[in-house]
């Protein structure tokens, strides 16, 4: 903007002003700063610079190489050096890391921040920090949705408006005098250290890939949580605000200067920030990592639109690319981890039978794990796109179960994976059940565990919806089969003692009952029952209802059979010697004894016997 002719400074007056402020020439010039003096001084200086500039361009145009031209040349250099110092000084005096509790700046006029809400800056930052920090306080389940919340960039005024005007007026002049690079350098170096300081406050750590591989997963989980919080504030507030500052100072001054300054300031910190997420995405797959990796994935996915906005210029392309790369690696990591989980379930090698045939820790772990997976189904449905690599029916590989997915065609890949996990869990359990010496116990074990699976599926509506009622029916069928197998294995031989055949003797003199055979029968029954009772009292069916049902089922077969046996044949025993050796138990005794079954405690039958 050209001032009218008469208010322009004469050239030598302008030169004098510049020389007066030459810090290499005078002590006073070194000790004071122009922009900290009164406004008049500032205006005078800037006017002087403008005048020198004007005469410089006219001498350049005319090709004048005379003494005055040289003088102008050197004067402009002095002025630029001075302006650079002033620029640095203004920046430094208004630079402090973002505070969580209060803002240092802010005489921001409402109109100056075009993007942020009109609320007063300090509460604005409080709110927004709370928003970001507060999200983490939700327990896992309800907090899930927060990672997919809509984004919000909130720029904060880092430097007061009048300082910005001053900076702008300096930048303008430096750049039109051809001192663009110097300007960018100064700006970058001051702002970069401000960003570094803010990073430290946010707890962004510098960790190498090696460091991260060495940390225990529990420690990493904490760091991931912290990183998610810090990354959101960094991208949405810190970087966005730096960008705005660059725009405020440099927009329209030369081409893409604001971009260059912005990159100069934030490129290093941004890379440092993303390196952490990258290192996590590279770490070895291990089932327990799945959920935190999904959290990280979702948080980054949420941030990408903001990253794309904040880093939209061509020169910041590499940052956008890196963020996208990391996101896809995290997705790969999630997929790989799920695979790893399936592998681990299939090959879990423990052979020590669980005492009492109760629920195996593997069953609990797997069912809890897939319940949690169903919580994350929104993300996982997007990530998991291929079917599980099940063994084929014809592979003949005895170490992997078969599964046909044909009948499960409408299911999402994720649901197929969950069903597959249950299949391989059962397969593994069946292998484990073979380590029980007692086949009855093996069946009981399977019954317990399949029952647990069924209960877990029924207990989670998401899981149930994914697994589907068809497969649930199959599982229930298996459960019943196991129960039936148990009963057969244990009770067939016991009840065999109470059969009719072989007791009746038809002879010429008396058709009746063989007393000796009968005595044998009673003795066998007693011995067998005692043995079964003693053993199976220590077995455990943890689920109350299942336990009841099983006991009732046993009673339904045992009690009537014994009652009828007693009824028909006791006479023959009671008419002989020492009936108490043979008829040891009443029906009620047996009924009470059945109640001991599957409690998991050793008991002695003798204590239970009612006195005859």
């Amino acid at each position: 903007m050209e001032p009218p002719e008469d208010s322009r400074l004469p050239l030598d007056a302008a030169e004098k002003i510049i020389l007066r402020w030459d810090s290499t020439a005078s002590e006073e010039a070194r000790e004071r700063m122009i922009f900290e003096s009164d406004r008049q001084e500032v205006d005078r200086y800037l006017q002087a610079v403008d005048e020198i500039q004007r005469s410089l361009s006219s001498t350049t145009l005319s090709g004048d190489e005379s003494q005055s031209a040289n003088k102008v040349n050197s004067t402009i250099q002095i002025a630029m050096a001075r302006l650079e110092d002033e620029f640095r000084n203004i920046l430094l005096s208004h630079t402090s890391p973002i505070e969580a509790d209060s803002l240092t700046t802010t005489s921001a006029e409402p109109g100056s921040s075009t993007h942020s809400p009109a609320a007063s800056p300090s509460t604005e930052l409080d709110d927004l920090v709370d928003d970001h920090f507060g999200e983490e306080d939700h327990p896992d389940n309800s907090g899930r949705s927060s990672y997919r919340s809509t984004s919000s960039i909130r720029e904060v005024d880092l430097v007061p408006f009048d300082a910005i005007l001053d900076l702008r007026s300096i930048a303008d002049r430096m750049i039109s005098a051809g001192y663009l690079r110097e300007c960018i350098q100064v700006y970058g170096s001051v702002r970069k250290s401000a960003v570094d300081a803010s990073f430290r406050r946010l707890g962004v750590e510098k960790l190498s890939i090696g460091d991260i591989q060495r940390l225990e997963w529990e420690q990493l989980e904490v760091k991931i949580r912290r990183w998610i919080r810090a990354a959101k504030v960094s991208v949405r507030v810190l970087f966005a605000s730096e960008k705005k500052l660059c725009e405020q100072i440099f927009e329209g001054v030369g081409t893409a200067v604001d971009d260059a300054c912005f990159m100069e300031t934030v490129k290093g910190p941004a890379i440092q920030l993303f390196n952490f997420a990258e290192a996590i995405s590279i770490s070895r797959r291990s089932p327990e990592k799945l959920f935190k990796i999904l959290d990280l994935h979702d948080a980054l996915m949420d941030l990408i639109p903001d990253i794309d906005v904040v880093f939209e210029s061509k020169s910041s392309e590499s940052i956008r690319i890196q963020a996208a790369e990391i996101l896809s690696r995290l997705a790969e990591a999630a997929r790989g981890t799920l695979s790893e989980f399936e592998n681990a379930v299939l090959r879990e090698p423990s052979k020590v039978p669980v005492p009492g045939g109760t629920i195996h820790p593997l069953t609990r772990y797997v069912m809890n794990y897939i319940s949690l997976i169903s919580d994350y189904k929104q993300t996982l449905n997007e990530l998991i796109v291929s079917k599980p690599s099940a063994g084929s029916r014809y592979s003949g590989d005895p170490t992997t179960p078969d599964m046909e997915f044909a009948e499960l065609e409408e299911k999402t890949p994720l649901a197929l994976h969950l069903i597959w996990v249950i299949v391989i869990l059962q397969f593994n359990l069946e292998g484990k059940s073979k380590h029980y010496k007692d086949t009855s116990l093996a069946h009981l074990f399977m019954m317990n565990n399949v029952h647990y699976i069924v209960q877990k599926v029924k207990g989670s509506s998401e899981l149930r919806e994914m697994i589907g009622d068809d497969y649930l029916k199959k599982l229930t069928g298996k459960l019943r089969q196991a129960a039936t197998n148990y009963q057969r294995a244990t009770w067939v031989s016991v009840l065999y003692c109470l059969r009719d055949e072989g007791l009746h003797v038809s002879g010429s003199f008396s058709s009746g009952v063989s007393k000796s055979a009968l005595r044998e029968r009673f003795k066998s029954f007693n011995a067998m029952f005692e043995e079964v009772h003693r053993t199976q009292a220590t077995w455990l069916v943890p689920d109350t209802q299942l336990r009841e049902e099983l006991r009732i089922s046993i009673s339904e077969k045992l009690i009537p059979a014994y009652r009828s046996f007693l009824g028909r044949f006791r006479i023959h025993i009671e008419s002989g010697k020492h009936p108490e050796n043979y008829i040891k138990y009443s029906v009620e005794d047996l009924e009470i004894a059945v109640l001991d079954f599957f409690e998991g405690y050793p008991v002695s039958l003798h204590l239970r016997r009612r006195s005859q």
């Binding site: 050197s74 690079r181 510098k206 490129k267 290093g268 590279i282 790369e325």
Partner: protein
């Protein structure tokens, strides 16, 4: 492609397949063939690097364009190595000692290399910074009319001002490596990292040398060498104590070119004194340092008006500085991109191979 060529490669493919079909457990022969080919390629590629470094000024040892070639060579070797690891090889046939020790060790080295890549990327940023500061200094030197003889006072003032600012800039430029805030983790050290990567780098002997042991050794050696060269060239966090001895047996034929290169670079490294090594052996930064130093000396001792030849010499040096900066401007960004690509390749290979071995149930859970 000429008919003869395609026929030749077709026959090659046939013969390989025949080998695989006929000798079911004669995979040993195939292994040897693969290994020999791999070693030959490694030797050829590094031989190229060695000869280009001495013949061609444009590709001087440890210049940006030479480093770009180096990274390319590494990528080729890595691709070939990965093919050896996973293709045409039944994972369940991989011997137990290989799987238990060699492969995890190799990937441990790869992990360390990833950190080196990151450190080198940061280092390249600081080199760019140095270049930009130098460019500012050059502007200060170029635009000051010197010795036009017209009006001594004015000219002198211009010149003295110009040289002061240039000197300050240049000192700032060179000194920045000392005060640069390093971006890697606290306590991370490039030289320690290279040392750690070199441990257990032992050539497989006799009976061990079948199966995977030899290709893994070859690739490990290549990896350590390339990372070492990058660290020597580019300023990165903590390079004091960078080992200069390379634990590769001299009699290994395929390693000769690499060993020769290593000796050349080690010589350069030893020549520079400790305090001067901060800026790295990168040919361009060396040049900037040298020229900058000479110009500072000139500026400090300058008496106005200067002798013409001296002034001409200075002008030539400034021009050379500008030329070097231009090369850096053109070459640094592509080099950074290549390092990033290298990073990706290494991550990808590691993930894929480890998954493959995991699935065939080979790796124990304790592997990192």
């Amino acid at each position: 492609m000429r008919a003869a060529d395609s026929q030749g490669s077709f026959l090659n493919r046939i013969s390989i397949r025949r080998n695989q079909v006929v000798s079911m457990d004669g995979n040993h022969e195939q292994d040897l063939e693969d290994l020999e080919l791999f070693q030959k390629h490694v030797a050829d590629r590094f031989s190229d690097l060695l000869s280009s470094s001495s013949e061609d000024a444009a590709d001087a040892l440890l210049s940006i364009s030479w480093l770009r070639k180096l990274v390319d060579v590494f990528l080729c070797c890595e691709a070939e190595f990965k093919a050896i690891l996973v293709m045409g090889r039944d994972p369940s046939q991989i011997s137990k000692p290989s799987v238990d020790r060699l492969v995890p060790e190799y990937f441990d080295r790869v992990l360390k290399a990833l950190d080196v890549c990151n450190a080198v990327s940061h280092g390249l940023e600081s080199v760019r910074h140095y270049q930009k500061l130098t460019e500012i200094a050059i502007t200060a030197l170029e635009h000051r009319p010197i010795g036009d003889g017209q009006q001594p006072q004015a000219a002198e003032r211009t010149w003295s001002f110009g040289r002061r600012s240039a000197v300050n800039r240049d000192r700032a430029a060179a000194g920045q490596f000392r005060s640069l805030s390093w971006n890697m983790a606290k306590g991370w050290s490039a030289s320690k990292q290279i040392q750690a990567m070199s441990t257990n780098l032992v050539a497989p002997r006799g009976g061990e040398s079948s199966g995977l042991a030899s290709p893994v050794y070859v690739m490990s050696t290549v990896t350590v060498f390339v990372m070492w060269a990058l660290v020597a060239a580019i300023p990165c966090q903590e390079r004091n104590g960078l080992p200069t001895y390379f634990p590769v047996p001299r009699q290994l034929v395929w390693a000769q070119p690499m060993i020769a290169l290593q000796e050349k670079i080690a010589e350069e490294w030893k020549k520079k004194k400790e305090k001067n090594r901060l800026a790295g052996l990168l040919e361009e930064t060396q040049r900037l340092e040298r020229l900058g130093q000479s110009l500072i000396e000139f500026a400090d001792s300058f008496q106005f008006p200067g002798e013409t030849e001296r002034l001409e010499e200075v002008a030539a040096q400034v021009a050379e500085l500008a030329e070097t900066c231009k090369k850096m401007e053109e070459g640094l960004v592509p080099l950074q991109q290549q390092i990033r690509e290298l990073f990706h390749k290494l991550v990808k290979s590691r993930t894929e191979v480890l998954e493959l071995l995991d699935q065939s149930g080979k790796l124990s859970a304790s592997t990192m």
